[in-house]
């Protein structure tokens, strides 16, 4: 009963009844069209520069980046990163087909377990859905192949990202999801959970001074795979 009472209280405040059908129809059309607003000029760049901007922004937000020529180079890049940080070579990996297709056996020292992350997980591996150059933001939607806990519980998260999936602005990432994603439960496109992740976890709650490593990963490492001919290659 509360529902109608609340809606009526709102209508009373707005000094009208239920919206007339023609107006409701216009609002439904706006929802369906979801018009874009101003997109800041900073990300309106040629592809190669857009990718550069993304990488710069990740580093600005205290993430680290590595750029490799193709999937075959990922195992070595991951192994080197872990060794360089003095981290163990055990990883919990999202059960994503793109991660599964990587020739891990070339680095037998790396031990991968597939699944969701647990509280004891030290290093996790995720496959990014897309990334946003504007602020160096990774787009990590949930589905059976991309568990959310992979982004949350590990001390160190490594994210593999295809260069072709870097877009300029958030709006472009929403349109990718709208075009590519299908949610069985709702019939819509929105996955249960979409995390936009910009750098490693931090807190400024102590004297308003930034300190890395709050509840989420202390380190966020992006391995960018050059698969986009239009975007230039790693040097």
């Amino acid at each position: 009963m509360s529902r109608e009472t609340m809606l009526n209280a709102i209508r009373r405040g707005l000094r009208r009844g239920r919206l007339p059908e023609d107006q409701a129809e216009m609002l439904r059309a706006r929802l369906a069209r979801h018009p874009r607003h101003l997109i800041p000029a900073r990300s309106r760049l040629p592809r190669a520069e857009q990718i550069e901007l993304f990488l710069r922004n990740v580093e600005k937000e205290f993430g680290t980046v590595d750029r490799v020529a193709g999937p075959a180079a990922i195992p070595a890049a991951v192994a080197d990163y872990l060794a360089g940080q003095n981290l163990p070579s055990e990883l919990v990996a999202a059960p994503h087909p793109q991660l599964q297709a990587i020739p891990w056996s070339e680095r037998p020292m790396l031990q991968l377990r597939e699944g969701r992350a647990e509280a004891s997980t030290l290093v996790s591996l995720q496959q990014a859905y897309a990334a946003i150059a504007e602020t160096g933001t990774l787009v990590l939607p949930s589905d059976p192949t991309r568990p959310t806990t992979i982004n949350l519980l590990a001390e160190t998260e490594i994210v593999v990202l295809s260069a072709s999936r870097v877009v300029g602005a958030y709006e472009e990432a929403w349109d990718l999801l709208r075009a590519e994603s299908h949610d069985e439960l709702t019939g819509g496109f929105m996955p249960r959970n979409v995390m936009l992740v910009t750098g490693p976890s931090r807190s400024a709650d102590i004297e308003q001074t930034l300190e890395l490593g709050a509840h989420g990963p202390r380190r966020l490492h992006v391995v960018l795979v050059d698969d986009d001919a239009s975007a230039g290659q790693a040097a």
Binding site: L7, A41, P147, W174, M190, R192, N193, G216
Partner: protein, 475 residues
């Protein structure tokens, strides 16, 4: 806490002579101002984004009933449940019912101002359920049994020493030689303590920065990742959201997000901006099995169609308090209720009654800084003036029994606050009768005397001290 709003001046006077608080305010304030200025300078389109943000919120508010219905339909389709709650009582009951149905013993919590407004923690505790705050700032306040003093930085009023002292007192198993020299040491201690709690919790409660009609999503914005752990690990996720959090589409939310972090912490984007839509899907390896939104009105619909409708655009970024000269010297607790600073001075009288919070709209120098930084262009000084005029016209008498009873009830549910407030009330009595006029010596005197309803000054008032500080600072 609530009943101390009427004693704003006394609270403020105490705050001015609290050395620890003054130190914390001085450090924190400059941090916020510099960071926001840098972030805004790096976004040449910022002014245009503000105008768009204002227009999006105005459009949504004008059609709020439509968008709420559209949103609720999407939530339900995603396996979620919406609990429509007109009052704080209904919302508390809804939260408790969900927790009890889930057989919950412990509940983890992300930062939520609605939770403060409802007094959820006290309510759960009284029914044998343990709430655990997981935002670092909220966690320390829970250990200290204090309310937040800022809407995005709840422990704004504390110094590093205070953190260490609270940990030593509450974490009794800490080794005596354990050091907390660095902020990092404090962070590590909190992280490891809270990890255990995250894993045990049966229910996770978060707030929402936005609700999206297009997709039926709730959005949270955090830097720590505590909100995400809170809504991902337990079986049940409860979202506490008030009706004005609504925006129509992802594009609308995106414009608001471009404004939020820059205005709040001066970041280009917060670390975690997360969109939650319903329950765990088939085949998912994690995520909650149940998703509830407790949708709260609690006085907001009554602001629609009035001059205070503009206030419902607020996205709780805290820029107005960070830039407020009054907040900057008295801190958040002096405002006496959940929402401090300029936004609190406008919102609090709307939500708890002008007879309780009528002093707050006077807590302004009318310098206009708040309005000039507000990302959704809320005319805060103008709205404070409206309250002053209304208060004058009503010739306030302490006869609004209903609100007072409501206040008493709110308050009685929070024993520690109740004790604090009776202390303040006693101090207040002791101060009555000491009266001295000092208004001619105030800065911005034109702004002050423009308000016909300015109460007679009492003793060595906050305003007088404020004036002295201003003079000292400008020498």
């Amino acid at each position: 806490m609530l009943a101390t709003s009427p004693a704003f001046k006394q609270n403020a006077r105490r705050a001015l002579s609290d050395a620890g608080l003054q130190k914390a305010l001085a450090i924190s304030k400059t941090q916020f101002l510099q960071r926001r200025a840098r972030a805004v300078a790096a976004m040449p389109e910022f002014e245009r984004l503000r105008e768009i943000g204002r227009d999006i919120k105005n459009h949504t508010l004008t059609n709020l009933d439509f968008y709420l219905e559209a949103w609720a339909e999407k939530v339900e389709r995603a396996g979620g449940q919406v609990h429509w709650c007109e009052t704080a009582d209904e919302a508390r009951a809804a939260v408790l019912r969900i927790c009890e149905d889930a057989g919950a013993r412990t509940v983890t919590k992300g930062k939520s101002m609605i939770s403060e407004e409802l007094g959820i923690n006290e309510h759960l505790e009284r029914h044998g359920i343990t709430p655990v705050e997981t935002d670092l700032g909220e966690y320390i306040l829970q250990l200290r049994d204090e309310p937040p003093s800022h809407i995005i930085a709840p422990a704004f009023h504390l110094n590093r020493e205070d953190w260490e002292a609270s940990f030593r007192k509450s974490h009794t198993d800490l080794a005596a030689d354990r050091v907390f020299h660095e902020r990092r040491d404090i962070l590590t201690e909190a992280r490891s303590r809270l990890r255990e709690r995250f894993l045990l919790a049966d229910v996770g409660i978060t707030g929402a920065n936005f609700l999206i009609a297009e997709t039926g999503s709730s959005v949270i914005v955090t830097n720590e990742g505590n909100g995400d752990l809170t809504q991902t690990l337990p079986r049940v996720h409860i979202v506490l959201a008030s009706i004005e959090k609504m925006v129509p589409t992802l594009e609308d939310a995106t414009n608001m997000l471009r404004l939020l972090a820059r205005s709040a912490t001066g970041q280009d984007f917060s670390v975690y901006t997360t969109f939650s839509t319903g329950v765990r899907r088939q085949g998912d390896l994690d995520g909650p099995e149940a998703y509830h939104v407790v949708l709260l009105d609690n006085g907001r619909s009554a602001m629609l169609g009035t001059e205070f409708q503009d206030m419902l655009r607020c996205i709780r970024c805290a820029a107005c308090m960070n830039h407020c000269p009054v907040y900057g010297v008295v801190g958040g607790h002096a405002y006496g209720w959940v929402y401090p600073g300029p936004m609190g001075s406008v919102l609090t009288p709307s939500l708890i009654g002008v007879d309780q919070a009528g002093q707050l709209p006077n807590a302004s120098t009318f310098c206009g800084k708040c309005e000039s930084v507000c990302p959704v262009k809320i005319p805060l000084p103008g709205l404070m003036r409206h309250w002053r005029e209304r208060e004058f016209e009503r010739h306030l008498t302490p006869s609004t029994v209903r609100v007072n009873l409501g206040l008493w009830a709110w308050f009685a549910r929070r024993p520690s606050l109740y004790r604090g407030a009776t202390r303040v009330a006693a101090a207040l009595l002791g101060l009555m009768g000491r009266r001295r006029g000092r208004f001619a010596r105030l800065p911005f005197a034109g702004g002050w005397t423009g308000g016909r309803d300015l109460p007679a000054p009492e003793g060595d008032t906050f305003f007088a001290r404020y004036a002295r500080r201003q003079r000292a600072a400008s020498r």
